[in-house]
């Protein structure tokens, strides 16, 4: 399968200073294997766009501990105390974006749309410095598209062409992120023959996916645990 690469090779596609779109809602739907490999590397000055920064020392939280990060853009970092601390000390830039605006901005990044007017956050602190405009008597703010250099996403299965399906709510930000980066690397639990998915079942069509990496974690008791 020509898109399959080792995780070692996969992270060579990431350059210092890159913006990474990383799927997941907390740890669910997060590409844990690829994240581990980055944490073990000397990649630096990365900016991560993800809803959270994993948890303390878990998932994307590892990149913070390992010193790979320059900044993070997402909707919720409060529960990762490492992130809060790093931000307080000026060691991590954080941009806080409402969750729906984040999802939509990434979708636009992948859809050839440069910006959109949303009613979310209009009139709030998070709208400061943003253009406000009235449509039909209601205030909207202009939000710009978000794109990444590399998207790191997690799917349940790929077929040999690279079509993807996701596991339950582990889908979350992954399908939109798959559309909005120059290079898209998908971590998957399993690869099946092309033709295994009905055309209706494909969530991410293969043309969005550049590389596939196998997940090293295995699921036990409803959680991914490191395999021996």
């Amino acid at each position: 399968m020509k898109k399959l690469v080792s995780v070692k090779d996969a992270i060579q596609l990431i350059n210092d200073g890159d913006t990474l779109l990383v799927g997941g809602f907390g740890l669910s739907g997060s590409p844990l294997t690829i994240i581990d490999e980055i944490a073990a590397s000397d990649k630096k000055d990365l900016t991560v766009v993800s809803n959270n920064l994993g948890e303390e020392g878990r998932g994307l939280g590892k990149l913070l501990v390992a010193g790979n990060l320059k900044g993070a853009k997402g909707s919720y970092f409060t529960t990762n105390r490492d992130a809060v601390k790093a931000w307080s000390k000026g060691e991590l830039e954080i941009e806080l974006i409402p969750q729906g605006t984040l999802a939509e901005a990434i979708r636009c990044g992948g859809a050839g749309i440069a910006g959109f007017y949303t009613k979310t956050a209009a009139g709030t602190k998070l709208a400061e410095g943003k253009e406000e405009r009235i449509f039909d008597g209601e205030a909207y703010i202009l939000e710009k598209a978000i794109k990444g250099d590399v998207a790191l996403i997690k799917a349940l299965k790929a077929d040999t062409l690279g079509n993807l399906i996701y596991d339950k709510t582990a889908r979350n930000f992954n399908p939109v992120m798959a559309t909005a980066a120059k290079v898209v690397i998908a971590e998957v639990d399993e690869i099946v023959e092309a033709g295994s998915f009905a055309p209706e079942d494909v969530v991410t069509p293969h043309i969005y996916v550049d590389y596939i990496v196998m997940n090293r974690y295995i699921k036990k008791g409803g959680r991914y645990v490191e395999s021996v």
Binding site: F25, S28, Y76, T78, I94, G100, A121, T124, T169, G222
Partner: protein, 214 residues
């Protein structure tokens, strides 16, 4: 606040929900509401991409890839559907959720809500709060009447950062139910043995009193 007061709030909000409505529940007291719906069937939506969220599974059925927006394991109700985050917020922001039940740090007398940040504190989270405030058809606040330090939560004007210009429709506390209509706040029900004078003392916001409550 005691657990019984929390339950009182959850029960009272549960009465406001109508059969068949699509409902998004914020963290805290709102998550207790499903226990008090009785036979009434509502469809719970979760920001991370699920409509038709069911109760917590038995331990052996837990799957951390089937979770709520609070990252707790959940189950499917019959007729549930899955979608990605952009479709989830299309649903929320686009006005397709009938009711959002949210907590609040402050609510002012016009119904404007502050529920994401405390001035001077490190707040690095907003989640879906502002999207829900902007988009849900009805917004009900479920909250304690005063803050932990005793300061009023129902204020004349927000001193905490606003979550959006869109006003709440109702707030339910352990003491009372208020509704907001056209920028004004109305006391519609008293839920404890508090007197109206006592209520006014712990409520900075000005409110009018509906005839039936007097």
């Amino acid at each position: 606040m005691s657990q019984s007061e929390r339950i009182k709030i959850a029960k009272r909000v549960a009465e406001e929900l109508k059969e068949g409505e699509a409902v998004n529940l914020g963290v805290g007291i709102p998550t207790m509401i499903p226990d008090y719906l009785g036979d009434k069937k509502v469809f719970l939506q979760s920001e991370n991409g699920l409509l038709g969220m069911g109760p917590t599974p038995a331990d052996e059925d837990i799957d951390m890839d089937l979770i709520s927006a609070s990252k707790k394991p959940v189950t499917y109700e019959i007729g549930a559907s899955l979608f990605d985050s952009s479709d989830s917020f299309k649903m929320i922001r686009g006005g397709h959720i009938d009711v959002a039940v949210l907590g609040a740090l402050q609510v002012d007398e016009t119904g404007e809500v502050a529920n994401w940040a405390v001035p001077g504190e490190t707040i690095l989270g907003v989640g879906g709060a502002m999207d829900l405030v902007a988009g849900a058809k009805r917004m009900i606040i479920a909250s304690t009447h005063v803050s932990k330090d005793g300061s009023p939560k129902l204020v004349s004007k927000l001193t905490f950062p606003s979550s959006g210009k869109r006003k709440a429709d109702m707030i339910v506390t352990e003491h009372a139910v208020f509704k907001f209509r056209e920028g004004k706040m109305y006391l519609v029900e008293i839920l404890s043995d508090i007197s109206i004078d006592q209520l006014k003392e712990i409520t900075e916001a000005n409110f009018e009193i509906l005839e039936k409550v007097k």
